[in-house]
Subunit: 80 residues, 2 copies
């Protein structure tokens, strides 16, 4: 079993509604120190041994992320 | 400006509908090597200098995560 972590974030300049909402909500709860909140996806993937990072990138481009508005970063997880 | 990254994941045993859907969809697209997909949140927070990790944990407990069904992990981001 191989594991990958994938971080999906909005591309620069793309509006992030959940992030903007959380930001306003935190400030209105009294957390004035907050200046920016961005909310993306954190994906934990388990695949068969030997699956390449390129193959995972293909899955991201086809299904896990929306390449039009999102960037993704893939990190292999080292087993403990 | 201080930065934190927050990883929000479902607690063990809590069903993750988007993850289960992505898993089935990937397998049906021919990615048979996929055995598990879990989808959580990846939050990038910018706060005033000197904001403690405890304070960020408080924000998570109150608004950014649902402590009933989700776990969160906070990582300070070192400036380059």
């Amino acid at each position: 079993m191989a594991r990958f972590q994938i971080f999906v974030t909005y591309k620069k300049g793309i509006f992030d509604p959940p992030g903007a909402t959380a930001e306003r909500a935190l400030v209105s709860l009294g957390y004035d120190e907050v200046s920016s909140v961005k909310i993306g996806k954190f994906i934990q993937l388990e695949v068969a041994d030997g699956t390449s990072e390129e193959r995972v990138a293909e899955m991201c481009g086809k299904l896990l992320a929306n390449p039009v508005i999102e960037d993704f970063r893939i990190e292999p997880v080292e087993e403990a």
